[in-house]
């Protein structure tokens, strides 16, 4: 054993010494390997966390998410959302779950705080903290054994909230925080290490948890079986003796029966059915993110392939270089196994160094993931340097070490070595055979073309969506929303219209150019059922409530008819109350085209009447050009109706180069009324960016992968070709001596490698066509004619790299007198 170690340390020392003499080889191998291993470890850890790692909660495998699915008469299903009474019925009438955690996600203003921040508040049932075993920094969690209907208003702050909004106040426990007009007593602060389950969407982080019963579901909705609520989430611990399927079978009938009772009076729900769906919490959180992580994994494996072929090539070249040393070692009696040990030691040293750097790269990658892709990939908070990362790092490094050592060993041509020793003088330089060199070039070109093209197409697709104009002006706009702090007093109800007053107070600010009493164009639309009065046809357009200045302000073009006027704006608080006889509507061209017979002008739609549930009948007075929401490829049907004077959603246009702070808005509003608090304030440009988030993430990842691929392919091709050029230097020197000009030599090398490059390109085309046929459905949206120029660009890029890889190594020989290529080996 001792002997083994001493011989090992001897090999390592030898290897270290020999590597010291080839810094460029060491540099190339370590750069390539550490970049690749770093990317691999990063993505592998992400994939492991998302796909395999148990959730970081006790009994994680028994945690389930319970969903409430309504099936319509026609068999289509709604989104899996609960109605409040169904949820409460299930809580009170089941025996399968040992612990139940309900959450209701909300966003409210912390009115007790001087800067009145808007916070993500989550109402949770008593068992919530127990189920997810929330570690506490200060105080305690909600008491577990109290009734769900407990009406003591208590709050637990998240660690970040405690830090950012309360300056780490050690005496926070017992103080109160007020949301709207309810004061909650702070009973605890969660620890920094708590990883919140991302139940509602990826990257969601609650800022304050509040007592369940204070959730803002209205008294009416708490009894309305037909009203579903997207903010309600049901998580539970399933008894160990039951499977999710059993639970579904057992729960569905009773909930369905009860639900049918609840909606019996509403003919709308005739023929509908409710099912309970129980799924593993882990897979519920993963939901449809699986595909993107698998895609990323595929991209990284492509990188690994390129890197391996690069390094294989570098090792082969090195073996050729080492042949003399090896020949002499062999001559003085070194056995094959001893030479192999030396190779193994060399390759271990290189992989070890790469591994260390790769771990640093991976850690940087983790931070980048957490800061930029938290909304794309769930659970990125759990992506850290873990046992999994380390063991897969060691596994891969060992695999690569062995692979390269074995490859190197295979490349040593022992016959050539002995020939070398006998010095037959016929130039027995141990060259990489032409076949090996060709196949390296072919594989390099093929893989790189496929990867670069794949990434570039996703990249340009994302870029196209990002740069697509929305069709309206969104520059210098701020979207401002208010919410009531408390119930209005009778005086406030009877007094002057606060919506108008707030609008005027904002208009009075020096930075403000104009104010529209409407939500910003990017804040979205509400889906409302419309009925074409003439044809009785139903539609579900996106509807937006706007004032008379909205379209002109955002420069949305009018195609026919007229804009709203001040007299169209409703006076009442809600639709029916301020009922006027002639309610008007403006529709977009997409909707107009549905009404207008083929070939007729859009004007035909003017004067058409639409009924919007109990709000009444609207007459179309104008048609506007449709606008595109960022990140959405089509323009759906839309209708605009006049807002109310009481509306407190404002879109503010700032004067050029001006900014508006929260404080300035709060001060302006407080001068008018104490009823409203600033709920949200966002630059429209910022909303735009947020809507494009996933496209940006795609662009960043695919762009990075494409760049890495190009970099590695360039390194690899350069490696192979510079080596083969070096091997041919005598031939080049001879040809120069015989009168070849520089151009002759460049042509010689380029044409010599052209075939390999062309074969590589053909293989890449075959692979791409194969992929397109295999994934036709998934790729349908991406495949189109614009891909052809992109593919040509890819080919140009790869050929350019290949050409430079041919040319650059030649410069040493062809730009000096011929003698330098002819001289003996140094």
């Amino acid at each position: 054993m001792n002997l083994f170690f001493s011989s090992l340390s001897y090999s390592v020392k030898q290897a270290y010494k020999s590597l010291q003499q080839t810094p460029s080889f060491v540099f190339s191998v370590i750069t390539t390997m550490s970049i690749t291993l770093g990317a691999l470890l990063c993505v592998l850890t992400l994939a492991y966390v998302m796909l395999f790692k148990p959730l970081p909660y006790p009994d994680a495998e028994h945690l389930v998410k319970v969903d409430h699915i309504m099936t319509k008469k026609d068999g289509s299903r709604t989104d899996p959302l609960f109605s409040y009474p169904s949820m409460m019925y299930l809580v009170n009438n089941q025996t399968l779950f040992s612990d139940i955690a309900l959450s209701s996600y909300d966003k409210q203003i912390l009115t007790s705080h001087t800067s009145q921040p808007t916070m993500l508040t989550t109402y949770v049932t008593p068992a919530w903290f127990e189920l997810f075993q929330v570690p506490m920094e200060l105080g305690r969690a909600f008491a577990k054994d109290v009734d769900i209907k407990n009406d003591v208003p208590e709050a637990v702050l998240s660690f970040d909230t405690w830090q950012q909004a309360f300056n780490n106040d050690e005496n926070i426990i017992g103080k109160t925080v007020r949301f709207r007009d309810v004061s909650f007593k702070v009973i605890g602060v969660s620890a920094q290490s708590f990883i919140e389950p991302q139940l509602i969407k990826a990257g969601y982080k609650s800022q304050v948890w509040l007592t369940w019963d204070f959730n803002r579901t209205s008294a009416r909705a708490r009894k309305d079986w037909g009203s579903i609520n997207e903010n309600l989430i049901f998580v539970a611990k399933l008894d160990k003796n039951n499977s999710t399927a059993q639970a579904e079978q057992q729960l569905s009938p009773s909930v369905n029966a009860k639900w049918q009772e609840g909606v019996a009076s509403d003919a709308f729900y005739d023929g509908w059915r409710v099912d309970i769906q129980v799924s593993q919490l882990k897979s519920a959180i993963l939901s449809n993110h699986q595909q993107s992580v698998l895609l990323l994994l595929a991209g990284v494996f492509g990188l690994v392939l390129i890197a391996c072929s690069n390094i294989a090539n570098l090792f082969i070249a090195r073996m050729a270089q080492l042949q003399k040393t090896l020949a002499i070692s062999a001559a003085v009696g070194a056995k094959k196994s001893q030479l192999f040990k030396l190779l193994l030691a060399e390759s271990s040293l290189l992989m070890f160094a790469s591994l260390m750097i790769a771990l640093i790269f991976a850690s940087v990658g983790f931070v980048v993931l957490q800061q930029n892709l938290a909304q794309v990939f769930p659970r990125v908070d759990e992506v850290v340097l873990s046992t999994f990362t380390l063991s897969s790092a060691i596994l891969f490094a060992t695999m690569f070490t062995l692979f390269f050592a074995l490859l190197g060993n295979k490349m040593i041509n022992y016959r050539a070595i002995s020939q070398h020793l006998h010095g037959s003088g016929k130039g027995v330089d141990m060259q990489i055979s032409k076949k090996v060199r060709y196949s390296l070039i072919v594989s390099q070109v093929a893989i790189a073309s496929v990867l670069v093209f794949g990434n570039l197409s996703l990249f340009t697709e994302a870029l196209k969506v990002i740069n697509e104009p929305v069709g309206v002006n969104t520059a210098n706009f701020v979207d401002i929303d208010f919410s009531t702090k408390r119930r209005p007093t009778q005086e406030e109800i009877d007094g002057p219209v606060l919506g108008t007053a707030i609008k005027n107070s904002l208009l009075a600010l020096p930075q403000v150019a104009a104010v529209s009493n409407s939500q910003s164009p990017l804040s979205g639309f509400y889906e409302m059922a419309l009925t074409n009065v003439a044809t009785n046809e139903h539609m579900l357009p996106g509807v937006k409530w706007i004032d008379e200045s909205y379209f002109q302000l955002i420069e949305q073009p009018l195609l026919a008819g007229d804009y709203f006027t001040v007299s169209d704006i409703r006076e009442g608080f809600t639709g029916p109350e301020g009922k006027i006889d002639n309610m008007v509507m403006i529709i977009n061209d997409t909707l107009a085209k549905k009404v207008v017979p083929q070939g007729a002008s859009l004007d035909y739609a003017l004067g058409k009447k639409f009924k919007m549930d109990e709000r009444g009948v609207f007459t179309v007075i104008g048609i506007v050009k449709g606008m595109k929401m960022p990140g959405v490829s089509n323009i759906p049907v839309r209708a605009y109706v006049p807002s109310s004077v009481h509306s407190i959603s404002m879109t503010v246009k700032l004067k050029p180069n001006q900014t508006l702070s929260r404080e300035q808005v709060i001060t302006a509003v407080n001068e008018v009324t104490s009823l409203f608090a600033l709920f949200s304030m966002k630059d429209v440009a910022e909303i735009h960016q947020q809507l494009l988030f996933s496209e940006r993430a795609t662009a960043i990842t695919t762009g990075t992968l494409a760049l890495l691929t190009i970099l590695l392919a360039a390194l690899g091709l350069y490696g192979i070709l510079s080596y083969s050029t070096q091997m041919r230097r005598y031939e080049i020197g001879t040809r120069l001596a015989l009168g070849a000009k520089r151009r002759d030599i460049v042509n010689l090398i380029v044409f010599d490698n052209l075939i390999a490059v062309i074969i590589g390109i053909i293989i890449s085309i075959v692979i791409l066509i194969g992929l397109m046929m295999a994934f036709n459905e998934q790729l349908e949206s991406i495949i189109n004619v614009s891909l052809l120029p992109l593919f040509l660009l890819t080919l140009l890029l790869i050929s350019g790299i290949a050409f430079n890889a041919c040319y650059l190594p030649l410069r040493t020989y062809i730009n000096k007198p011929a003698l330098y290529s002819l001289r003996g080996s140094e």
Partner: protein
């Protein structure tokens, strides 16, 4: 510089020096060399190792550029050529024969010999190339085996192919560096016979050799020592 129009002069070097500059020191490989070679001459250059023989030969062959001095081949000034111009002049005026043959392994014997013609300014047609190559191979008695690869031949045969290649463009001079260095004495003798035969038929030859026996075969024998020529019989004739 007095440009000598004498048609009989193949090569004229005046005050040629070559200094190699390496990190630490300057090596004066050649100092103030004056050398004239007439058409039909057979010159041998010998001297101790490191005296500058190969350096002189590479300057003669335009494989490297002198540090100073002037150089004419057949009356044409070649002291200041660009890399590509030098290549063209090498191709048409100079034939090389190397100690290690420097045949290209992937090419057949025929293609090796034809190679200089393919780099020729006015590339001859296929027929002309074929005739010329066969003619040269005949001069070295290697007309059989034209489709072999060089590594299928003996060293002596390879060197004869190399000689045929050097002859193929009808150069003004053959530059030969230790032609027998890698050969046994029998093959060496054969190669030297070929060279003598060629000279007899009018080819100008300048040969570097260690071997006094072979040096004696030349009509003019130059001795180099420390980068300078010791005896230059032809110099008096030229001036």
């Amino acid at each position: 510089m007095n440009q000598n129009k004498n048609n009989n002069i193949a090569i004229k070097m005046s005050n040629i020096s070559k200094i190699f500059e390496t990190q630490a020191l300057e090596t004066h490989a050649l100092t103030d060399i004056n050398l004239t070679i007439n058409k039909g001459d057979y010159i041998s250059i010998s001297g101790p190792s490191g005296c500058g023989k190969s350096t002189l030969l590479s300057l003669l062959g335009l494989l490297d550029m002198p540090t100073s001095g002037t150089y004419f081949i057949e009356g044409e000034d070649v002291s200041q050529l660009s890399l590509d111009q030098a290549a063209e002049t090498r191709n048409s005026k100079i034939g090389f024969i190397f100690q290690s043959f420097n045949l290209i392994d992937e090419l057949s014997v025929f293609d090796n010999v034809a190679l200089p013609l393919r780099y020729h300014r006015n590339k001859p047609n296929v027929e002309t190339i074929k005739n010329r190559v066969n003619e040269c191979l005949a001069q070295v008695s290697m007309t059989h085996r034209t489709s072999h690869k060089p590594n299928q031949l003996s060293g002596g045969q390879q060197q004869r192919i190399a000689i045929a290649r050097a002859l193929v463009t009808n150069p003004a001079i053959l530059l030969v560096d230790e032609p027998t260095g890698n050969l046994d004495s029998k093959s060496g003798d054969q190669v030297m016979d070929v060279l003598a035969q060629l000279n007899e038929n009018g080819t100008t030859i300048c040969m570097v050799t260690h071997d006094p026996r072979y040096a004696d075969m030349a009509k003019i024998q130059l001795k180099l020592l420390d980068g300078a020529i010791l005896t230059v019989p032809s110099l008096q004739i030229a001036n």
